[in-house]
Homo-oligomer: 194 residues x 2
């Protein structure tokens, strides 16, 4: 397999030249994650900064009662890593698991840092990944406060239909901050309306 998709993704950011992207991409290694396999397990340090080329992943943590709480979903053409664990080199509280067979390209922490210091344009790219992730989470948090569960589900359906296709209902429910029972009812309501 070749890394054209990764090169394209780096270059599309507008922050990296084509030659730069090609050079950066040579430092990434291929990685396959089979369905249900873990990209990251809680208690471990996140060691890979991954470009997801194909497949679908989800991140989840456990609440006090031990229930799984979905904290995020990852579609192709996204960078995947647990921010705190990867950058602070501490054990993760989150798990990241493949919902379907997935493939991508990764780089280790040491290599990433070397490359950050050597290539200013990759640094810019790295910053932009952090800023984008941060901003997306701010939006999500605000929606948890200002929208009803039904509105959040409707928006998810509109903006990320691939999530609804790939993830089981109870997983989506905990991502929306509700129980699977409630989501099932919301789904019925929305069905009526359309």
């Amino acid at each position: 397999m070749d890394n054209a998709q990764l090169v394209q993704f780096l270059h599309n950011s507008q922050l990296v030249s084509l030659t730069g992207a090609q050079k950066i991409a040579t430092h990434f290694k291929e990685k396959a994650i089979a369905k249900n396999e873990y990209f990251l397990e809680s208690g471990h340090i996140c060691s890979h900064y991954l470009f997801l080329a194909s497949g679908f992943l989800r991140a989840f943590a456990h609440d006090v009662e031990g229930n799984e709480v979905t904290t995020g979903f990852y579609s192709p053409n996204q960078m995947v890593f647990e921010v705190s664990s990867y950058f602070n080199r501490v054990t993760s509280k989150e798990n990241i698991q493949a919902l379907v067979d997935s493939k991508g390209w990764f780089i280790t922490y040491e290599e990433l840092n070397t490359l950050f210091h050597a290539m200013p344009e990759f640094r810019e790219f790295g910053r932009s990944v952090l800023v984008k992730g941060f901003t997306a989470l701010k939006t999500r948090t605000l929606s948890m406060i200002t929208e009803t569960a039904e509105e959040r589900y409707a928006n998810l359906l509109k903006t990320n239909p691939e999530i609804i296709r790939n993830a089981p209902l109870k997983t989506i429910a905990s991502y929306l901050g509700i129980t699977d029972t409630s989501l099932s009812r919301i789904r019925k309501e929305i069905g009526k309306k359309s």
Copy 2:
């Protein structure tokens, strides 16, 4: 006023040497924000990366109905800026306002970038600020999903009592994702228990 507090803060991060911190601090300018004054107004581009030395700020956005929703609080010895607006140079949807007379030190976007490129240790500091903020928001989002409003309030009371001291009830309520009416009742409940 001297910038010893800023130097100390930079150095305390463990990422910046004392001489490095002193050099970095020379690029920051002093700034005072009077009570009720805005550090950032929605519709404007966040132009200052601020070290808050004293005082207390809050960030808020508006929901669809036009209600203010508090998105964050800032205590002394924190960096203050709106991530997306500052780094992407786009207009902000958030406002950041002083709840009491406040003071700090800021640096512009251009100066920050120059300094990032010139001083690797400041880059590390900058990354760590982003990562810390991101991580804190992840924790907050998870608590919105897994905890009741009463638990969230009790935790806020325990970990950030200065917020309860400095911000009016309705401001805290919207930060917790509930109405002021509900928070008033929660407060009463907690009062009974203790």
